[in-house]
């Protein structure tokens, strides 16, 4: 489980949130809500361990994430705003490399399956530079089908996705939840799944 305890985030002279505490048990989904600039992305970066909170800490399996960087990295998947797709590499190569760099040993068959799941199997051999925004997002999301990481941190995963892709993402999240996974996500559109809500910027 992941637990945030008394997190405070300060950007410049502005305090984005103060003494924010919550915890997430296996099988729980959390929807972080709030207007633009309320600190959603900052919260995600803190939860991922990319940024250090002004005060408070994040605990993973009961221990601070700063003390167990590598174990935490092996149990968590963070997908940020940028899809981390390399234009010069092929679609399949991109997925393969991003899995390997994340420490996931995916077989060729499972990579194909993941591309199939996000509807990109037809462009597996194309260079990634020909992909549209939505297809890039799908390629980034394909990692959700590979390597079972218990915790997913998804910052605006629905951006640029069409209705069909949104539906397939929600199905995958539900599947992950029923397998005991945890998901924290932000989105400005209401997700089609029942989720606990966390409101920022009040």
């Amino acid at each position: 489980m992941i637990e945030a305890s008394h997190l405070t985030c300060v950007r410049g002279s502005r305090r984005l949130f103060h003494a924010l505490s919550f915890s997430l048990q296996p099988g729980e989904l959390l929807h972080v809500q709030g207007p633009n600039g309320s600190g959603k992305t900052s919260l995600f970066r803190i939860l991922a361990g990319l940024a250090v909170p002004h005060a408070g800490k994040v605990l993973w399996q009961g221990r601070p994430i700063a003390d167990q960087r590598e174990e935490y990295a092996a149990g968590m998947l963070y997908l940020g705003h940028q899809p981390a797709v390399k234009d010069a590499l092929g679609v399949m190569e991109n997925l393969q490399v991003s899995c390997r760099l994340g420490g996931i040993e995916a077989t060729l068959a499972s990579l194909k399956q993941a591309l199939d799941a996000v509807g990109l199997s037809a462009c597996a051999r194309l260079p990634a530079r020909v992909l549209s925004q939505g297809q890039r997002r799908r390629l980034a999301l394909a990692r959700l089908w590979l390597g079972e990481r218990p915790l997913w941190l998804l910052d605006e995963p629905y951006t640029a996705l069409d209705a069909k892709a949104t539906q397939m993402l929600e199905q995958r999240i539900m599947q992950h939840q029923s397998a005991g996974g945890m998901v924290i996500l932000t989105s400005h559109q209401a997700p089609g799944l029942p989720m606990r809500a966390l409101e920022l910027g009040q």
């Binding site: 970066r45 991922a48 361990g49 990319l50 940024a51 250090v52 590598e70 174990e71 990295a73 092996a74 968590m76 963070y78 940020g80 705003h81 940028q82 899809p83 981390a84 797709v85 390399k86 010069a88 590499l89 190569e93 490399v97 991003s98 390997r100 760099l101 994340g102 420490g103 040993e105």
Partner: protein, 222 residues
Amino acid sequence: MPDILRWLLWRDVQLVLRQHADVLSMLFFFVITTSLFPLAVGADPKMLHTIGPGVVWVAALLSTMLSLGRLFHADYQDGSLEQLLLSPVPLTMAVAVKIFAYWLTTGLPLVFLAPVLGMMFGMADQELWVMTWSLLLGTPVLNLIGAVGAALTLGVRGGSVLLAVLILPLYVPVLIFGAGSVVAVAGGQSAQGGISLLAALLVLTVVFAPVAVAACLRIALE
């Protein structure tokens, strides 16, 4: 863990091989700047022989500066750097591999080109050897020091000028020992002093630069 680093090396080398315009223009810059000197100072073989080592070394140094900004910038922009920070391998190791891949694709070609340019300045066989050796030891040092600067100026507007201002003073010792060793051989002395000091600089930067780069990247991404 070594598997992750192998894939990182493969990816970085592949990216350069497939977008080779950057490297080719850097090598072209290296050839052009060295060729400009004989045109500017005249074709007196004795003078060219005197300035040769210095010119080749300065041109090599400026060429490595040219592409330094690219080292982390693309990864920073497309989000790959974030993912690298979250990869279950120590960031210091990942950074060391990235710099090695960068040297393989930009530093090593310079080392191979340098003797050809050296001939243009009428260098003798032994001087060419010493120059190649000095560049072989010196270019990784330039890249390692440069990587610290590139990480420090990541995401800063007008970063490339700032990078040059930050890094060029730190390149001075490398330049002195590198060009100095070739000059020493040309003057009939031993090049061993300069070469040994370059090797010492290499050991020092290999140990400390990746740690510094990793720390700078964490700050840059926060």
